[in-house]
Symmetry: C2
Subunit: 151 residues, 2 copies
């Protein structure tokens, strides 16, 4: 079973000096915080803001390659969580066949936002995440820790 997720926000985590992408399902009942590096956060933030860089950024180049060969991103799925590390798959449609490619969730999300592909999470991942008590950690973050995407 998979659940469709939206990119709800991008936060800076001052304690770990890193960024967190917040995925939430439609009902706001499930939440997935994914820690990402600065470059990945910036790739995601450019797509959220619809900013066009003067030169193609890395994920713009990736989209150009897909467009060149006429391959389409059908969906991306956060499909595993092991030792606090998330794993994802990018599902491509190419010449009437479907292909799955291993990816870090940060790259998958940055690409999904550029190709308007839906983002899913496997329910097992949502369940595992919930058990890791990250909600509690997030509740304790002060509003000023949140980036401008958080509403």
């Amino acid at each position: 079973m998979i659940t469709q997720m939206n990119v709800r926000g991008l936060m800076f985590d001052p304690y770990n000096n890193t960024y967190i992408v917040i995925l939430r399902d439609e009902d706001n009942s499930d939440m997935l915080p994914i820690w990402v590096g600065k470059a990945e956060a910036s790739a995601i933030s450019f797509a959220l803001e619809g900013v066009e860089a003067p030169r193609p950024m890395t994920h713009d180049l990736m989209k150009s390659i897909l467009d060149t060969v006429d391959a389409k991103v059908i969906s991306v799925v956060v499909n595993d969580l092991k030792d606090n590390t998330y794993y994802a798959k990018i599902h491509l449609m190419y010449e009437d066949s479907e292909y799955s490619i291993d990816s870090r969730p940060s790259d998958a999300i940055a690409l999904a936002l550029r190709t308007h592909a839906p983002i899913f999470a496997r329910e097992e991942v949502l369940r595992k995440q919930a058990s890791e008590d990250l909600d509690h950690w997030l509740e304790n973050l002060k509003p000023e820790d949140f980036g401008k995407y958080e509403s």
Copy 2:
């Protein structure tokens, strides 16, 4: 005219808190220093060291996409320099046709190293660069500013 270049080194530039990829031609007569961000430097350094990350890094994912659709990187070319900014093209062979895709040189180099594709620079770029007096700047760098790739 184009000249084949090798990745000769990766340096940290302490004055600008950024990284520089050094491309040199076979004869060591031409040199191209390309300023890149930390993420791009790390993508290039992983490829130079042959390090395999536990999860695919961004340019590994790009290579996976190319492999999936059976597209081959023929070459990458640093083809322009304007206002201290370099521009590059990635040349792809796909279904017996050649395609050129705009790229930042950092992404092009990171991809070329992973796909064993040759790296070229247009002579015009080498000429323009030489006129920008960067050689002088580099000569004044102390050996300890150089990263471990510089021999």
